[in-house]
Symmetry: C2
Subunit: 104 residues, 2 copies
DNA sequence: TTATTATATGAAAATATTATCATATATTTG
DNA sequence: CAAATATATGATAATATTTTCATATAATAA
């Protein structure tokens, strides 16, 4: 067994964690949310819904999911819940993809 | 409508393409394949199966899927099909995720 | 030519993700 | 307190992805 193959086994858990985060990002709506919050941090659910022309409940589900995975954070002010990027590093994923010359 | 919001609409297609590539990568087995090929380029299907302790048909499906999306390339030599990275840029996605402090 | 080996393929089953809908909760306002 | 507004929740439906299994194909060897 080569060193590389041994490595793969050791890193199995690492790949599972990485895939978990990547999955949270690998969706057009969620990428749009990330870019939106990158440009204008701390938007309410309604503002995000309007920007993305998407339904409140669906956006809420996405936001909560991304918060759960540590990508977003939120803070409440009165009736509104303001979401912002917790992990700015994820914006680099988009930049990274844009440099790819994959079949698109 | 703010400039950011106008942007989101224009970029809808961009997000779809990016999500398409991210989805191809957002899977533990496929991440493992990428790292394996990054370290030792041009492995046969069987070698990959052994390294990942995974079934031939399943690995074949993953490999063909990643090739279809422009991430891998393959070349045949006799009975063997050797796969390698076509788009090395995707290895940066893994590095990028590792720098994240998301809830994992 | 038959057997063997490596890989691909395709259908079906299993599982996971995403979207929709109705409604609940919480906050503010009149 | 009742009405209005913003967001969350949870069940279900719709859809997509992943796995499995049986088998096909193609190359080589006996």
């Amino acid at each position: 067994m080569t060193a590389e193959i041994a490595n793969i086994k050791i890193n199995k858990e690492k790949f599972e964690k990485a895939a978990y985060i990547l999955k949270a990002v690998a969706h057009p709506t969620r990428l749009a949310i990330i870019q939106l919050l990158e440009q204008e941090d701390g938007l309410s659910v309604n503002e995000i819904c309007e920007a993305l022309e998407s339904e409140q409940s669906l956006i809420s589900h996405h936001l909560i999911n991304m918060k759960l995975r540590g990508i977003l954070k939120s803070n409440k002010d009165g009736l509104n819940m303001y979401y912002s990027l917790k992990e700015h590093e994820v914006t680099k994923l988009l930049a990274c993809i844009e440099n790819c010359n994959c079949n698109m």
